[in-house]
Symmetry: C2
Subunit: 418 residues, 2 copies
């Protein structure tokens, strides 16, 4: 890379204006945003992104999986594309940095390179992937683009089939479109994503940024404890088949299992529903949304088995039955060594300290890793809070992160030989 490129920096005030404008869309008034996939606020954010792209004189492209990209043709015609991006959807009542920061940093990188009039061996795209958070399916747009989405993944997705159908309709998309959105791997030079860490490891290590070495494996199940509906006044306590007892015992035991036996893993019961769901009826069915994460392949398989055994065990204690439906399993995914090196070199150029670390959250980069060299930059999260309105990253760190993304992209592009 020449020294002009090495001294190139993003436009921090334009980046900040965009960040603040986007944070107002779906704002919950407490610093958070509520933009679940294809909700009115999410659709509005997508529309806003399209306008920004067009105002920046970049080409706008939408694919049949609902992914939106800004295209900068700074490379050879029909040359490969280096993708930069993240997602604009949020968890329900989440924070305003998760996903949004990465999309806007990608857009800012494209504008900076456009402003500098650089020619590169690759073309660039700043992408907003659809449904990363899993309100509907999870990593939906990135899996579709990488050709990692199968029809079976859409049959009983974790948000429920009805929500998927409604969501696609709202966004003007179709199931067939999702399955036809794959790009050939040969057209992709690589994928780079900037994201908040959602943890405190970078900050605690005294570093400025994180370089992701691997993305944790994530599995999810719908677990239903089944007893019998009975009158909650007239049925003796001893003879009840109370589904809430099994579900509660499992929820407690689940946490204890992770603490005692799988210290590198986590598990969460995030959703609980009792049926029929009345004060005066003993619950016949209690359904739990279970998610677990493990950093290595072996632990990923072992914790799954242990959790299922635990569910059986707790159900037996209360004479209940249990059903476990597997909804998704994304095994642990290593990031490209080439991309990690490009990020480390960018950190060296900028004089920033980088910490190599495992991502404990799932990201679109894990979909892309199947078809091209993929990697991620983490900026530190204050207090490690995420998926909540209090999610926060210092603005200096956001700007550093965007400059790392810029320099890492230039490093990667510089190593391309065509």
């Amino acid at each position: 890379m020449n020294s002009t490129q090495a001294s190139l920096r993003i436009n921090a005030s334009r980046f900040k204006d965009n960040f603040e404008a986007l944070a107002r869309i779906g704002s919950t008034g407490d610093g958070g945003v509520n933009r679940p996939s294809f909700s009115p606020a999410h659709l509005q954010a997508r529309q806003w992104y399209r306008q920004r792209v067009e105002e920046a004189n970049l080409a706008f492209h939408g694919d049949s999986a609902g992914n939106h990209t800004a295209v900068l043709s700074c490379g050879p015609a029909s040359g490969p594309t280096l993708l930069l991006g993240s997602h604009l959807d949020s968890v329900p009542h989440g924070g305003c940095f998760d996903g949004a920061l990465g999309v806007l940093a990608a857009l800012e990188v494209l504008q900076t390179i456009q402003d500098a009039g650089l020619s590169l061996p690759v073309n660039l795209e700043a992408i907003d992937f659809s449904d990363e958070e899993g309100t509907l399916v999870g990593l939906l747009g990135s899996r579709a683009l990488a050709g990692e989405l199968a029809r079976g993944d859409l049959r009983d997705p974790r948000g429920g089939r009805a929500a998927l159908e409604t969501g696609l309709q709202r966004a003007g998309l179709s199931e067939e479109g999702l399955l036809q959105a794959a790009r050939p791997g040969s057209s992709l030079a690589g994928y780079l994503e900037l994201h908040i860490e959602q943890g405190e490891r970078v900050h605690r290590a005294g570093a400025d940024l994180g370089i992701v070495t691997t993305i944790v494996g994530i599995g999810s199940y719908r677990i239903t404890f089944i007893g019998r509906a009975d009158h909650a006044g007239t049925t003796p306590m001893e003879t009840r088949l109370d589904a809430a007892q099994g579900a509660s015992a499992f929820t407690l035991a689940c946490r204890q299992l992770v603490l005692d036996t799988f210290p590198a893993c986590v598990a969460n019961v995030g959703k609980i529903e009792a049926q029929p769901g009345a004060f005066n009826i003993v619950p016949a069915r209690v359904t739990l949304a279970l998610e677990y994460r493990a950093p290595e392949t072996a632990a990923f398989a072992r914790i799954e088995g242990a959790l299922l055994e635990l569910a059986e065990e707790q159900a037996r204690c209360f004479n209940l039955e249990v059903e476990a439906e597997k909804l998704a399993a994304h095994p642990p995914t290593p990031m490209s060594q080439q991309v990690q090196t490009a990020i480390q070199e960018a950190a060296d150029t900028l004089g920033l300290r980088a910490l190599p670390l495992t991502s404990r959250a799932g990201h679109d980069a894990q979909s892309l890793a199947a078809v091209c060299p993929a990697g991620m930059v983490f900026v530190p999260s204050v207090g490690g809070v995420s998926h909540a309105p209090a999610e926060f990253t210092e603005w200096t760190d956001c700007v550093n992160g965007a400059n790392i993304l810029l320099q890492a992209a230039l490093n990667l592009a510089g190593k391309m030989s065509f």
Copy 2:
């Protein structure tokens, strides 16, 4: 009573036709019905009842609390009314006997007395009380009629304020109407209700029916455990403030408390809701619908205190906060001795064995007990199942129960002196 009256019996086949027709409204196809207050199926059942009343050449009357009655003017003009009845609403996915049997037995008693052309010292009404089960408020129509309903009871009812407003609108009712539906106690000669036992005590004692001595006290709370929403992948297990842990520990401890310390009482966690409610977010709030019942005043107060203390204790174990909102408290209510005697004499007349017992369920009779002599007849429930589709009572027992209701009403009327 003269011997003609003593030998009077209901028309069992008409009673059965009505019972079967009503069971088809809101049928869930598995023996159960789904007729929560003012749902389309419940409104249809109300309409069906009105037609039956009119076809029977009885006067139909609807009050401003949504109570529907069949009126038989068999007594002196502006003389007092002996009310017989129950309710047509059901719990979600409940049984077809609970409430419905009592309303149809009351109607059958009026038709039998009308057919016999009897003159009595009282007028009779067969009443369908609105919202007995508490989808909205609980014992709503009977409390309104007895003047036991206060504006405060409608502010944050157990089904939620929004559900109440929607329900009232669907039924063409208003809050003001509810508060103006009270009848003067002097206009009421008494109240008699036939109901399924919803337990196995009558059957186990080898009796044909139960005579309720007292109605259990019932209290309900909405209990919310409050933690912090966090990313379920990146937040270490040790630092989470997971509301589901406190709620689960409480649900388990609640059952144990009743088993260990309050053997005559029961408690139920019937509804559980986690927020924000996503696979990948640690629950910030978990709200439980708690109901407890006690047969005596002292135990009723003690169990309430013990449950609230338990909630605090379990919240502390997981560094959570807890909020407990009291929704309703109906203390234990003794039934009228006069009415119990009238039922016992009816059993003697019919050669049936009666068991005096406490009602472990709440009933409209407890509202009426505040303003007039009130009492209840129980028919046995097979297996004690109730609030579920498998709820069942042998038809012979239903017919016996309706004849007991008839004879007890005649006994009570006979003792009136005006």
